[in-house]
């Protein structure tokens, strides 16, 4: 069994090998700023990809398509919700397309993996995701975090519960068994102590679990006042769905960081009713920037924007704003400017904590409506509270930010 049988085979195979993947290699051209939108359009988070891309292109369009006289080019790449694919696409875009800025990770695992490339290749990453490591143990000078800190989220959500339902005191937690869930559980304990809740039990479930009845049977048996979901995305959707079949109406379901507005449509209205949820974004937020965003977005796409679109829109908008303020499209200048910048974003007054690169921003708590109260198909909930208490500095694990 020789490698190839004839000379012709070898030549044909060599040609096949060589002519295979010729991707367009443009390189960084003068007068063009290349921004990457690295986002999942396949895999578990498939729903988010197109929404992120919409928000980013809308921000660019409303900014006139250019910055400081340079054309801005958006590159959209599929990270498949997998760290390896995300890193591959970022690396590829940086070396062959001259990409210097990127947004759009949706899963924290992907975003954190990409963050390492960002530090090494000196690319500015404006990430979103639930992990506190972005601005904690794995913080970096080139990475900024748009989503709220889990502490902020937990505090805002439980503060609302404490004020509105003073008789509800005991909490049973269901925790996703990976870094994100454990971080939420850690802050559950801290915030419960701060606000005077009692934790009566916890179950960890593997991520991607599709059977929650066994956990829920345990939880219901403990008769807590509150079932707190320290789990997110499809897992949270499934848990809520299966909890609905228990008909345990005296247990309030609270999700501090479980379901963004994008995913609420996945639940039937009767499963949602009464849920208390923390939100990074909600279309009803009443700020001038958000009104402008929602108006344009709705006109263009005939749908309300959600977390994915709002994040991409706001992050790209802030980057373009920082470039103009810095009067430069060089990454180090933009980083220094962002670190000092304070601006009116879609969420309200926002700024960056220069020590951690965490966006200082409000976090919103919503309560889901009954089907009969919904004015239209996407009118899921009312904003009932918001909070912006930052993570106590002594709990932060981000050591000194390195020099640029």
């Amino acid at each position: 069994m020789p490698i190839a049988q004839t000379r012709r085979d070898v030549l044909l195979s060599a040609v096949a090998l060589a002519a295979a993947p010729i991707l367009p290699a443009w390189g960084q051209r003068a007068g063009v700023v290349t921004m990457g939108v690295i986002t999942p359009t396949t895999g578990t988070f498939a729903y988010a990809g197109d929404l992120v891309a919409r928000g980013a292109s809308l921000a660019l369009e409303m900014h006139g398509g250019s910055v400081l006289g340079n054309a801005v080019r958006l590159l959209t790449r599929d990270d498949e919700g997998k760290p390896a694919s995300g890193v591959r696409r970022v690396q590829e875009a940086a070396t062959s397309d001259g990409m210097r800025y990127f947004i759009g990770a949706y899963s924290s695992a992907v975003g954190l993996a990409e963050s390492e490339v960002a530090q090494r290749e000196k690319l500015l990453q404006f990430a979103a995701g639930g992990s506190e490591d972005f601005t904690g143990s794995r913080c970096g000078r080139y990475t900024f975090q748009w989503s709220a800190h889990p502490y902020t989220a937990m505090r805002a959500t439980l503060e609302y519960v404490r004020k509105t339902f003073p008789q509800k005191k005991t909490i049973y937690t269901l925790t996703a068994d990976y870094v994100f869930g454990h971080a939420l559980l850690k802050y559950t304990k801290i915030v419960a102590a701060e606000l005077g809740f009692e934790l009566v039990g916890n179950d960890n479930h593997p991520s991607g679990e599709r059977q929650y009845t066994q956990y829920l049977t345990k939880a219901v048996a403990a008769r807590p006042d509150i079932l707190l979901l320290n789990t997110a995305g499809a897992d949270a959707v499934t848990a809520v769905r299966q909890f609905a079949s228990f008909g345990a109406e005296n247990i309030a379901v609270v999700g501090p960081w479980s379901l963004e507005v994008d995913q609420l449509a996945e639940l039937a209205p009767e499963m949602r009713t009464g849920l208390v949820l923390g939100q990074n974004y909600y279309p009803d937020i009443d700020t001038p920037a958000n009104r402008e965003f929602v108006g344009t977005y709705t006109k263009k796409f005939s749908a309300l924007p959600g977390y994915s679109s709002a994040y991409a829109y706001d992050a790209v908008r802030a980057l373009l704003m920082a470039m103009e303020k810095a009067n430069s499209t060089e990454v180090p200048d933009v980083i220094k400017t962002l670190e000092q910048m304070s601006w009116d974003g879609v969420l309200g007054r926002m700024s960056i904590d220069p020590k951690t690169h965490q966006l200082i921003r409000p976090y919103f708590v919503v309560r889901c409506k009954q089907a009969s109260d919904m004015r239209h198909a996407a009118d899921f909930a009312d904003i009932v509270a918001n909070g912006d208490k930052p993570q106590p500095p002594e709990l932060n694990e981000c050591k000194q930010m390195p020099a640029l």
């Binding site: 190839a4 085979d9 396949t42 390896a84």
Partner: protein, 351 residues
Amino acid sequence: MRSSDHNGTVLAKSIEEPVEISSVGTTARPGPLTANLIRSIGIIGAVSILPLVMPINIATEILIFGIFAMAANLLIGTAGLYSFGQAAFFGTGGYAAGYLLAHGWTSLPLALVVACGSGGLIAAAVGILSIRRLGIYFMMLTFAFNQLVYYIVYSWRSVTGGEDGLAGIRRPVLELPFVGSFSFDDNRSFYALASVLFLATMIVLVRMVNSPFGLVLAASRQNSRRTVSLGYPVPMLQLVAFVIAGAISGVAGALFAMLYRIMPIDSVHWTGSAYVVFMVVIGGQRNMLGPVIGAAVFIWLQGLFSLVWTRWPLLLGVFVIVIMASLPNGLVGFVSKLSSWTVKGRGQRQC
């Protein structure tokens, strides 16, 4: 009736495909020296051109998955062992080497030996438990072991990083006495490292396939019972092949961990095993160039399709179905067929 090898035993097939026991023990047709030379130059040439025509990280990935696919082909193409669990060994090698590289041991030989050893060790454990199962049983067993390894990696968070993958991996350093030390931080030097290992793997595997060992494996693929009755310890030899393939997959995994400096959890998932079988089957199983071509085409198509359409896995699926239906012997088999049409009367062709 459709000729599916029922319960792993070959019924109709053994009649169509007479076993070439006579060729066991003799070496394959030794090509003229010039042909060998041209062959080698062609491959080395292709490996050198690769990074010039595509992003270098993609070129490196093609070599890494080429190594992985060649190892899988030792099982699929030569021994006829349809393993659907190769990602377990790829992952084990990657995590083992990655763990050392992330914790300060950055010696290249150490990383490679550990990757090779751990991949081989896990393959030995899996192989001992499953090698005597035939056909479909073997396939599903390897699949299930793959998932077991996946869940171990998933739960052993303190070592593997769990869901987030193993981060903080550093590229290794090669210390050579009297010459100095090489670091592979630059992507071009890392590509060079990958090419050396790629070519070395190819040479080793081609020689192995043509050795008596490889020929007995091939004979047992065609008719296991007859080969056993000729006195060859077939299960033992299959186990050895399985361990070798696991060890080489481990090296490929280690290179993958070094390439992006992370070892992601999805690289241990069974879909990784399915993809490497894809590569082998798309490219062609009858020689070692096939899997490499398969790996290149597969990686290239993934990149291309994902730029074309957000629902790109659909295109990939259609591509696979069409290739399988129209070219059951893979791309290289197709190329050979073409050339055998053009060059008539060139004597007997040999697999």
